[in-house]
Symmetry: C2
Subunit: 564 residues, 2 copies
Amino acid sequence: MSKLRIALAQINPTVGDLTGNVLKIKKFIKKAEKVNSDIIVFPELSITGYPPEDLLLKSHFIEDNIKAAKEVAKHTSNIIAIYGFVEKENKKIFNSAAISHNQQLLGTQKKIYLPNYGVFDEKRYFSSGHSHSLINLENSTVGINICEDIWHPNPTKNLAASGVSTILNINGSPFQIGKIEERKRLLIKRAKENKVNIAYVNMVGGQDELVFDGGSMFINFDGKIQVIGPQFTEKLLVYDLDEHQNQDRSQSITYSTNSINIKTSKNKKHILEKFNTTQESCIEEDQILQALILGTKDYVQKTGFSKVLIALSGGIDSALVATIASLALGPENVRCVYLPSRFSSQSSKSDANQLCINLGINLNEISIEDIFSTYESTLSEDFKNTNWGVAEENLQSRIRGALVMALSNKFGYLVLTTGNKSEMAVGYATIYGDMAGGFAVIKDVPKTLVYKISNYINLKYKKEIIPESIITKEPSAELKFDQKDSDSLPPYEILDKILELYVEKDFSTYEIQTMGFDNDIINHVIKLVDKNEYKRRQSAPGIKITAKNFDRDRRMPLSNKYIN
Amino acid sequence: MSKLRIALAQINPTVGDLTGNVLKIKKFIKKAEKVNSDIIVFPELSITGYPPEDLLLKSHFIEDNIKAAKEVAKHTSNIIAIYGFVEKENKKIFNSAAISHNQQLLGTQKKIYLPNYGVFDEKRYFSSGHSHSLINLENSTVGINICEDIWHPNPTKNLAASGVSTILNINGSPFQIGKIEERKRLLIKRAKENKVNIAYVNMVGGQDELVFDGGSMFINFDGKIQVIGPQFTEKLLVYDLDEHQNQDRSQSITYSTNSINIKTSKNKKHILEKFNTTQESCIEEDQILQALILGTKDYVQKTGFSKVLIALSGGIDSALVATIASLALGPENVRCVYLPSRFSSQSSKSDANQLCINLGINLNEISIEDIFSTYESTLSEDFKNTNWGVAEENLQSRIRGALVMALSNKFGYLVLTTGNKSEMAVGYATIYGDMAGGFAVIKDVPKTLVYKISNYINLKYKKEIIPESIITKEPSAELKFDQKDSDSLPPYEILDKILELYVEKDFSTYEIQTMGFDNDIINHVIKLVDKNEYKRRQSAPGIKITAKNFDRDRRMPLSNKYIN
């Protein structure tokens, strides 16, 4: 059986950076040519980056992207290059794959199924394709599936019925917990049910709230994973898939097809580097940590920053964020400040200090006491005869927000915020206070998972990076005397379970009740989630790691009187 | 020719308030029955409010909405009630109209064309209908178009070809400048080309950033507007349309149809109240002002607030917002504060004061000087050997933000922010400073339009409400000595034109150049717009009045290296 040498280019493009993305694509084509690959496959929309959002409404952006796709074509010779770009036809645009060979753009494959749920809005922009492009090689026929297309049975079935034995599946599939296992199950199923090889390539890199996690793979027609690439890093993955003509032509074909005939001159092939056949890391905490690190690194750098600033409270959330930032950018690019008030405990200070020693970061201390006292006296007339309460608590947090923003404005740091998903859900972060900043690293990480990841970090690096005392202390905002999170919230183990059911699974109060939770607690939690929608609307974006985050995934009205 | 008495119920439902919306619908049914209407027609999704967004992903919400739709049906007798609700069929949901009569929900019409552009995301939720329901009455046949369906030629053409002589068109169409004229042109065209009467009903009321402006109307089959309702207020509009059987059956029908036969007992009809045949107000500034007033009123009240707080600077933006708030909520529900610094001019104070006298609002003054000085001394070590600049300017704005939020937290005010569209575009508002607040009233109003509306207010109310000195002074943020907006921005007449071309029309630098603007100015403006995307992402929602606002209408990536 003859072999087809396919290179999967798991690259990290930047949205809108057409020039940079073209350079990167050309570099990977060269690499693949060096090892005599027959085909190189790039991710979905690798020319534009994904998702380009409303850049797609600019007609000059579409034109520039087409020029870029043609520029790439010019740099193909004997190799066949498949790469995602935006195709235009009769005023409609399509999410397409370019098929280039021998300096020419020979054809395209349009995406058929456009995802328009969760974080995806493709129907806002694209029209659907209705036909298949078959790439006829000497010994076999190859077809293309764009991302979502392989999740529906028909496109692959049609390609197989048209004689295709190898599917090139190009993706922009963002990370979420458990997603890679889901992809594997789906790809194995598709390969087996259609007797096709699948070469699956996924984008890598952070784009705003999304992190594309790579994990590209080759699956042969009996459903075995032959090679699986690493997650969260760029990689060229090359493998020789068996060529065969698919004989399974019994089924009727519901899409029209058109053929592109390519004769590649088969060179003598080098022996290939050996790749893994199993995933590098199956530890869930490790995958999440990698996602948070890459998401942070790319957000900071793709928005043109190099250094970040974090306000440490002495608590676990800011400790985890500082650790992630340090792993993402190097400790030399992370500045931490400790901003104590009259309510800050001595242990908060020593814990923050120990963390910075462990990370190799300098820690500045700026007391908020004088400023807070001045606010109190300035507001004394207006606040006369009122009880000390939320206004005064939030004020402290807002002074801290103003201080970090002043340092950011003065020295050009991007401020990282430290609120976790549980806090963001119930509104236990102060808007314009600790919510002030450009990127919310752990916004989609529930508190219980914050603990798990923190423990995992110390385990992974075989030393105490996040001080044990930070992990074991009782959580407190320290905005009033002897305050504890547990004063007004159920234990985080219970809170996070209710939040998962309500926020991620859209369960009703009644459905959550039937799962054994206390009615009063459920109502309290749901009320908090609903009434804090306005805060989340004004929050910094953060990295999606769960099935449903608070940004693109969940779009709730602010004026909303529905009670579950 | 016999007559069909149709009542258009231009109501203001609240998203998620199923109980409240049902009560309102039942009340209007009673009213319509009192004047012996044959049919009453409510807006699109009047059961749930529009747009319900991700409430639609909660299956219990869909069930509750179906119960609500059946509850309304029970309260129909001789009248036929048409009202929007979410229909469920085989796990799919549809944006439908319920057809109820004689205590029964007899059938539905599913929406065919689902808008998924601009502010609309209907394909995220709904499936498309593929058939027409024909309501056969004794002397004529009536059909339904749901909003978008009438903007496409086919649905109306098909209904006419099926014998329908009257189209009931139910809408959730938000206000934007010039939209009502566009609707009229379209409806007249549809009526004439299909020889059908059109009864067009539109929702009224504010829902987050959208304001539905009503303006319901009856158009007869020769394209004449018979009656047009008011904008921005609830109304029951009743009119007798001529019944006839549509003879224009020559065309082929591309949708399937199903028939509902209803025999209404025609009572003797009262003489009807006379309604306008022309629009109440065609003045553009008046429509915008009404939209801003209703949008503000509904956001405040539908989110459960009654009182608002505004920081007055002495400038025109905050003056306009205070005036709108006062018109929306009554001066007794508006509190203003003046928060001067060492850079505030005497005229700012007297202007703010005069405005409050004109509006009948008390004005408090709280100096930010002590707090600012304390920040300066607290940061003196960190800021040593740096130049006074943006950090210090923003700090003043953030002190003001913290003060209004403290008053909000203490006394329960909703804070209204005062940034206009030009400022939001180029980032001349301080994040967590003057951008701090729950609702951004004039966020979609360009500066040049802020002046026009301010002048219009004084004209409309025939007295100086916004002091002339506020309108004529040169704009300044007063964050440093002798600062003027014109120090770093082109004149607003030029800025606003470039912004319209770049933001609203998606023109490229080159296209804007060809329209005669200076290249350096264009590049400066575009760079500011692009780099301030992160600020807008964290801004409060505001009322859409233009073709493209900065919230739902324009969804730009934050990490974005595209240069036009």
